[in-house]
């Protein structure tokens, strides 16, 4: 257990160091542009699987949390010109509150009802933002980037590094939850909520906690997105595609372990970046849909399940 922790943290440090060196050495801008999106999806899908994977509550409101993160940043920049760190922290707080609200509102809902309710929340918030003139309304709003910190050559590289920090933070939290009693409690309530409740698992509090943590992380990762594209509009910030993409990434990777969504996000994220460059965004969505359907039908446990089954098969063959 302890050695495992050392391996994990040195891996995380190595990852951050490599990212930092890359921002100093590589001068081509494109890898950072594409890489930023992939890192963002890693955060989103790992955060998603805290509620969707461990607890089995299929959240279609990723777009709501992401969009609220974007608009928290937009509002702060416009009202006070707050720096990036403040934007992210504020977005995390707003996200935690929104997660709490979503959790309280949907307490009694299960399965499809929970999923439909989260879509509904996303659309209701999107419509409210569309009607909010101060942050640009339906037409969207342009945002100017402040000058970059001295450590980095340009703003995109800094955002790339910040997003990498968020990846490490999110994975560390997901890993902690998975290994602690919280994760075991969430898994128990996923398998049978009534039985878990009866055996003394505080299902209500665990669900709320999962909603809050998952929401805070999703919102936090939305905050830098406004700076990344220097523009925000409701229909792209709250796009349902975010919800389905993140869901697909988590299910394709497998939700039993935190590494699953990471693998899924990298696999699907890289594929989408390549497709978006070479073909078109429609084909991109088509590939997303086809991969989601294929994996759900043929590999219910995702890539993690495939790997595990292959391992079991090999072990079975030797004996």
């Amino acid at each position: 257990m302890r050695r495992n922790g050392i391996v994990f943290w040195s891996g995380a440090a190595l990852f951050l160091a490599a990212i930092f060196v890359a921002t100093q050495v590589v001068s081509n801008q494109y890898p950072f542009f594409a890489g930023y999106v992939i890192l963002q999806f890693i955060v989103l899908s790992v955060a998603w699987s805290i509620l969707g994977g461990y607890a089995g509550y299929v959240n279609f409101g990723t777009s709501a949390f992401f969009g609220v993160g974007v608009y928290t940043a937009v509002f702060l920049v416009k009202a006070t010109g707050a720096p990036l760190g403040v934007q992210i922290a504020a977005a995390a707080m707003v996200g935690a509150l929104l997660g709490l609200a979503v959790g309280l509102l949907t307490l009694r809902m299960q399965g499809i009802f929970f999923s439909i309710a989260t879509i509904a929340i996303s659309i209701v918030i999107e419509t409210s933002v569309t009607n909010w003139r101060y942050v640009g309304g339906a037409a969207g709003i342009q945002i100017e980037r402040p000058p970059v910190m001295e450590l980095f050559n340009n703003y995109v590289q800094m955002l790339f590094f910040v997003q990498a920090l968020l990846v490490v933070l999110t994975v560390a939290i997901a890993r902690y939850i998975q290994k602690s009693w919280i994760g075991r409690g969430l898994q128990a309530l996923r398998d049978d909520e009534l039985a878990a409740e009866c055996t003394g698992v505080p299902t209500l509090r665990l669900k709320l906690l999962a909603c809050v943590v998952s929401g805070a992380l999703m919102c936090a990762t939305g905050a830098p997105a406004a700076m990344y594209v220097q523009y925000a509009d409701p229909s792209s910030a709250f796009n349902l595609n975010y919800s389905v993409t993140v869901l697909a990434m988590a299910l394709i990777g497998g939700t039993a372990h935190w590494i699953g969504p990471v693998i899924g996000a990298i696999l699907l994220g890289v594929t989408q970046q390549l497709l978006a460059v070479t073909i078109s965004s429609e084909v991109n969505v088509l590939v997303l849909g086809v991969m989601l359907v294929l994996f759900v039908v043929a590999a219910p446990e995702g890539i993690l399940g495939l790997v595990r089954r292959a391992g079991r098969y090999r072990a079975g063959g030797e004996t």
Partner: protein
């Protein structure tokens, strides 16, 4: 303060619109309400049916309602096959089917959406028929004929389906399978075959519903996202599987949308059905005339 005339006008239009919403929600009321299939792809199939009607109208100049009837058998077979696939991959395997079933159907919805875009493009499409664009003048009110046609056909469709479910042998079997599948099995009936038939009906009614949709307003490939809110709002509010409840809930939604549209403005319209859905889920999840708590 708005005038009485305006309000009355909004209510009349709302009732007509509501009956139309009932027609597009009927299929979901069967598949989700009675069969417990989390049919999030229902609105996408609806748009697909509308494009089928558009294709027949555009290339062969067939009346949209007739075109809707023509594609109905096709949609019925499609539903039979779709349920088979869903049953074999999810319901049969049992555990954890909910999560993956929803994801699967969402994937299908996205695929349908993109295929429509690739085939027809992202532009809005509409049909041509002699009655589209005309209006009836009743007192001070102007009511578009296309809305009246949608109202009449939708009401007929709703009554027919309600009669089918309550009067015919197969219809009663479908309601029986929704109530207690095991009891039905003990009577020697095959619940899977009945559910497959019922699912076929739930997609077959989309032929007419899709025709009405494209008669009432132009369609574009991503319109299904707005109809996720409308159809689920109607079905959940009406109480799962109740046809009368579906009709009442649809009229409530239609009137609410119409009033908001003529008072607050069109920019709030997309949120109404979703907000009502949220309210119903939070306060009264069993709906108006629910079949269970």
């Amino acid at each position: 303060m708005i005038s009485m005339d305006l309000l009355l006008n909004a209510v009349v239009i709302g009732v007509l619109l509501g009956c139309f919403y009932a027609a597009v929600s009927l299929g979901l009321s069967v598949s989700f309400g009675l069969l417990d299939v989390p049919q999030v792809a229902h609105p996408a199939f609806l748009i697909l049916a509308s494009y089928g009607v558009f294709f027949l109208n555009d290339s062969y100049d067939i009346d949209p309602l007739l075109a809707g009837l023509l594609i109905t058998p096709l949609l019925f077979v499609f539903g039979l096959v779709a349920y088979r696939v869903y049953y074999e991959t999810f319901e049969k395997r049992g555990s954890d089917a909910g999560v993956r079933g929803i994801a699967f159907l969402f994937g299908i919805a996205f695929i349908v959406e993109v295929l429509i875009i690739l085939q027809f493009g992202v532009d809005q499409r509409s049909v041509s028929a002699s009655y589209i664009g005309k209006a009836w003048q009743i007192g001070d009110m102007r009511i578009p004929v296309r809305l009246i046609i949608a109202f009449a056909v939708a009401s007929a469709l709703t009554i027919l389906l309600a009669l089918y479910l309550s009067r015919t042998f197969m219809g009663r079997a479908i309601r029986a399978v929704a109530q207690d599948q095991e009891a039905l099995q003990l009577m020697g009936a095959n619940p899977v075959k009945i559910k497959q038939w019922a699912f076929g009906i739930s997609t077959a009614v989309l032929g007419i519903a899709g025709a009405l949709l494209i008669i009432v307003s132009p369609v574009d490939p991503t319109l299904d996202r707005a109809y996720i809110g409308r159809t689920f709002c109607v079905v959940v509010m009406g109480g799962l599987g109740s046809m009368t409840g579906t009709l009442i809930a649809a009229i409530i939604l239609g009137v609410a949308e119409s009033i908001v549209l003529s008072t607050v403005g069109a920019s709030w319209a997309p949120a109404i059905s979703f907000a009502m859905l949220l309210g119903v889920l939070a306060v009264r999840p069993q709906g108006l005339l629910g079949r269970r708590s």
